[in-house]
């Protein structure tokens, strides 16, 4: 016992979730310090400025689109679903990590979620806003978009509830609403903290307004925690259902390359994969810029790398299984669709996807690489690129060579397509930068709860 020098504490137990000499007050100071600083760091201005400029580009593109018509995009027969749907699925996928971290990891009692959950929930909401925008502007006549909801209209018609596109409306809007509630509910105690530290009247009013009069009452904490658990339990199947329903948009059609039962789990794994990559892309710079290294620790990053590696291999398995089923089914159209996918006119997109999503995460087998922030950041960008290409490959390669060879057509995006995608990043980062500046980026009350002194010792028992 005495000379088991080889076995250190670190080798047996994971490092503490809060590093450094932190107590309750210093955590409050660290997180609130970001939004109480008179001025944000210079890099914040740079990123925010770029994001607002891109947001302006997005606005211009949307006005141009609505004023002119969807013909300004590259969408045409047979590729009627071009970049707008690719971008929609891409952003919805990113929006999955937030709820997964908040809800699924909460149910599994993974305490390490506390450092990153606020962050990724915010990311989820902004990503779903970006996602929802694409189908909305894709309908062309956006002033009748309310026809997708079951509201009485002048045609006396109701929506068709057998359409996966309608399921999408319900799934994505439910997901957005529930994520927003979940996020806001988690924010309330922290907004009360900011309110109670406020030095100006405006801050006291605005943070006080949204803090709803929270005073840390334990009778309220009791119901609050129960409601939080219920929301987590509800959000867990919800997060799995949303990307399953998104995959139904493809899987319930008769098109070879889309018509497969593997789509729902495959899409969900891909969504988690891309969502975690985006959390890394955002948190690695953010923790440095805002000095949150002691709360978002290397252990968090290490864990996320492992999740990325696991989901990356699930996605790789799905890619392989699609090819196997195409061969095993003996369906020559299915077989053609997949040979065309890997070796047809879009072979370059397919192999970008495979290298980014399947090959590159394999580097995370090495602990050294998981602890190298530069490598992790670059890998997370690769995964983002790869997952965008996955949606491009699924959508475009299946459509561009469909049943009628006479209508085969090589899809090319227009400048409007490209600028709209870039603009959606502007929308996302504008929201995200505002969040970083004006809201607590880390769940203060939850992080305090993982400190050892937060738990009473039962000496009298």
């Amino acid at each position: 016992m005495a000379d088991s020098s080889a076995i250190t504490h670190e080798a047996v137990f994971p490092p503490a979730l809060v590093q450094g000499k932190n107590d309750f007050h210093s955590i409050t100071e660290t997180v609130c310090g970001v939004l109480e600083a008179p001025k944000p760091p210079k890099s914040w201005y740079m990123i925010f400025g770029t994001a607002v400029a891109l947001l302006g580009v997005l606005g211009a593109m949307i006005v141009y689109l609505i004023a002119t018509g969807v013909g300004v995009w590259g969408n045409n027969q047979p590729v009627a679903w071009g970049w707008p749907i690719v971008n929609f699925v891409f952003w919805v996928g990113i929006g999955h990590a937030g709820t997964l971290i908040s809800a699924v990891l909460f149910l599994f009692r993974q305490d390490w979620r506390t450092g990153i959950n606020r962050f990724s929930e915010a990311m989820t909401i902004f990503a779903v806003i970006c996602a929802g925008m694409f189908p909305a502007i894709h309908v062309g006549r956006i002033w009748v978009i309310w026809w997708v909801f079951p509201l009485p209209n002048q045609m006396s018609m109701w929506p068709n509830f057998r359409s996966p596109l309608l399921w999408d409306v319900f799934a994505v809007s439910t997901y957005f609403s529930v994520s927003l509630l979940f996020w806001y509910m988690g924010l309330v105690p922290d907004l009360a903290t900011v309110r109670d530290r406020a030095k100006t009247k405006a801050r006291r009013f605005w943070y006080g307004l949204f803090a709803l009069g929270w005073n840390g009452s334990n009778r309220q904490w009791h119901r609050y925690e129960r409601a939080y658990l219920l929301l987590a339990a509800l959000a867990t199947p919800l997060v799995l259902s949303v990307h399953s329903v998104v995959s139904f948009d493809f899987a319930t059609s008769q098109l070879p390359g889309w018509h497969t039962t593997i789509f729902p789990p495959y899409f969900v794994a891909g969504a988690i994969f891309s969502g975690f990559a985006m959390v890394l892309t955002l948190s690695i710079p953010a923790r440095k810029i805002f000095g949150l290294e002691e709360l978002i620790t290397m252990r968090h990053i290490d864990n996320m790398c492992k999740v990325i590696m696991a989901t990356g291999m699930m996605v790789g398995y799905a890619y392989a299984m699609e090819f196997f089923m195409a061969w095993y089914s003996g369906n020559e159209y299915e077989g053609f669709a997949f040979i065309n996918r890997a070796f047809g006119p879009y072979w370059w997109a397919y192999w970008i996807m495979v290298s980014c999503n399947v090959l590159s995460p394999q580097i995370f087998w090495s602990k050294k690489m998981r602890n190298n922030l530069t490598v992790v950041f670059i890998m997370s960008i690769f995964v983002n690129i790869g997952m965008w290409f996955e949606r491009f490959v699924i959508t475009v390669t299946s459509l561009n060579r469909d049943f009628l060879p006479s209508s085969w057509h090589y899809f090319s995006p227009t400048w409007v397509d490209v600028l709209t995608l870039l603009g959606s990043f502007g929308l996302f980062f504008t929201f995200f930068m505002l969040f970083c500046r004006y809201l607590p980026q880390v769940a203060i009350s939850e992080v305090k709860n993982v400190l050892p002194e937060a738990h009473p010792h039962h000496e009298d028992h």
Binding site: N160, W167, N215, H222, R226
Partner: protein, 503 residues
Amino acid sequence: MSHDMSNVPSSSEPEMYGLMAEFHDVNTLCAAASKVREAGYRHWDCHTPFPVHGLDDHMGIKFTKLPWIVLFMGLLGLGSAILMQWWMNAYDYPYDISGKPVWSIPANVPVMFELTVLFSAFTAFFAMWIMNGLPRWYNPLLRKERFARATDDRFFISIEAKDGLYNEADTTAFLQGLGADHIESVEEPAERTKLPSNLKGKLIVAACLLFVPPAMVYNSYGKTTTKTRVHLVPDMDMQPRFRAQGASAFFADGRMSRQPVEGTVAQGELNLDTAWHQGKDGADYVQKIPSVVDEAMLDRGRQRFGIYCAPCHGHDGRGQGTVHKRASLLTDQGHAQWVPPTDLSAKRILEQPAGMIYETIAQGRNNMPAYAVQMPVADRWAVVAYTQALGLAQATAGPSEEELNTMTPAQRGEILFKDKTCNACHSIDGSVILGPPLNGRFGKDASLADGTTVLFDDAYVIESIKDPNAKMATGGLPGMVMAPLPTSDEEIADLIEYMKTLK
């Protein structure tokens, strides 16, 4: 403890909110909470910057009913989703999607699931705030400077003045005994800010204004207007397009209308060959079948005729089919009215143009129904060809069995005389062809080749037909023998009757 306490006279005690005690760690808090509960206080609370686990037990908080409310509302969401989808897609506006049943659960599961989650989540969120009495932006505790640390790093116990056990001095002492770092009394504010006096009126006006848009919608509901509609997107509502007789600078011939592509058939022009499709050339029926009639066509015609025509017209086309026989029987018994089918070998049918027979098949005639649905055009012409061939064959074939039954035996015998080729050797006018003539022989003696005579009667005729050479009569060319003919007894009887008439 605080300076307020000494200043507050006892008469203003109702203005006190209560006491708050500050603790610096969770262990002291939990122990204190147990004591407060054991002391019997009811209107009290703990305030912590994060949920302290185990504190609920120390405080004796009963488990919330929130999960049951969420369950109920979740089920309500599920029920609403089922009802909504059934009402919208199966009842109020039934959709026919690929002929599937208008109501089948699997297609409705995704929306059922989403609405269950949506209702549950909204309930968990809003019911939690309502049960917590929030939002409540005013709380006397929040006025206390020290209390700001309740959301940072300190723990508080507050006991309200309205509690039955509350007594300022005693309760303060009690809290001090629990290890509180600091105890402070909390007052209700002396004066509460009042709502602006004219707010009520403004709210009433605002509420009335809210009814204006729905009232305008209701006013124009179900009415027409002569005003030009507003074109939100003029280039979509009024698109440039080609008009049938318009001029075009684009095409070489200066017209907008284009000729159809070579070899294509325009919609509605497929049946322009009226001879083939209607059996008519202008107003007149075509005389002949407008295609080559070959054996394959006649075979097809006979096969189709056997299916569609023979039940009434009979396989011989004489109009004596099974249906006709049954119908005639019923008519005889007074159960039915029946127009007999046409005899296809009748002269008027044989003289009909092919186009008219075709039209009869396609459209029906008298009480014969139309067969256009059952028979494609080529089949109708095949039946026309077979009908004509059958009619012609029947017209030259002699009487039908039915007719034979209505004839006298002698008439039948006359026909048999030809059918059995008796007339090839025997004349009926006394001349000798090969055998002896048969006129004026019956009932008389006939001389035989061996010199004897025999009476030419029934027995002799029967014997002569069955074994002609047994008693060979004279009168024919010498050396002739007669071959025995396969003939039934009834036929022989008819022949005998016929012979009796030959003088």
